[in-house]
Subunit: 145 residues, 2 copies
DNA sequence: CAACGTATTGAAAAAATATTTCAATACGTT
DNA sequence: AACGTATTGAAATATTTTTTCAATACGTTG
């Protein structure tokens, strides 16, 4: 029951000088209620339940805006690369190959690896995306029968 | 100067029961000559230099086919998620945020991390995609001026 | 090595996805 | 409460991908 205008994403938008319009708040709410795995069309459908006159164009525009501010990020997978999730700089996803559910997991232990890549290639490294895919426990059971 | 019909990808296609047609061989050759980072349109353009009557549809179809056989895989990045590269199961990409060049790097040290995720989530893990982004040495220089 | 049956092809059409344009509207400031 | 401007949705446009289908090339068989 938190005020939609007080969420971190809403705050960040306001601080960046953008208006907190109803369409934008609807998109934000959808993103917050569904941590990962919605594509623009799905966000649009759910957003319309919150703000019925929402337009698909605005969903695209809002996602672009949020992506530019680093608040949202695409979740990629073999099957789909148009899903968005509320995002920090670095992301770690675990994707079920059967039901395509996406969850996040804590990620530790990449620092060393990145340091060695840095040394070997001369690249600076600003962000990373680690995506693991396999089967979730439910699908393992379901497919075991 | 290797026989295009003897490359590992061509062999795998043949073994899976598919015909080694000229259009397919052209697509394979393009993929082999450009290790990462071409989208279907770019593959089409280059493929036509090899086999001029190549159709874009065939590029899509061949990529689907190769992806299904696990021979090719999309390279995802913040800006683009339609690039294909010849692929093993596990991939590690390093992407320059400025020139969008994609290189691969050897990846060691993920095993531990994956084992801990496996234990914490109950997921099985079959594949991984690790994408690092930053600036390549050239762009670092260029932007430093 | 010629002829055959079928998988594969390219072009065109259709579908899906994304972007641009623009007049009308809602935001937040004053 | 009224104003100026950023933002909106609809329509038009552009881009990307998939489907359909008759024509063709593959690789097998005789």
């Amino acid at each position: 029951m938190t005020d939609p205008r007080q969420t971190p994403m809403a705050q960040a938008l306001r601080e960046a000088g953008y208006k907190l319009t109803q369409p934008r708040l609807a998109v934000l709410q959808v993103l917050e209620e569904n941590d990962a795995g919605l594509d623009p069309e799905a966000i649009y459908d759910r957003g319309k339940l919150i703000y019925p006159s929402l337009g698909l164009v605005t969903v695209y525009r809002t996602l672009d805006l949020l992506a530019e501010l680093g608040l949202v990020r695409r979740v990629h997978s073999m099957h789909n690369c148009h899903n968005y999730a509320s995002a920090r700089t670095d992301r770690h996803y675990l994707i079920c190959e059967s039901c395509h559910r996406v969850i996040e997991f804590p990620c530790r232990g990449l620092e060393e690896l990145m340091e060695s890549v840095r040394q070997q290639t001369g690249y600076t490294i600003n962000a990373h995306l680690l995506e693991l895919s396999g089967l979730c426990p439910e699908c393992q059971k379901r497919l075991a029968t």
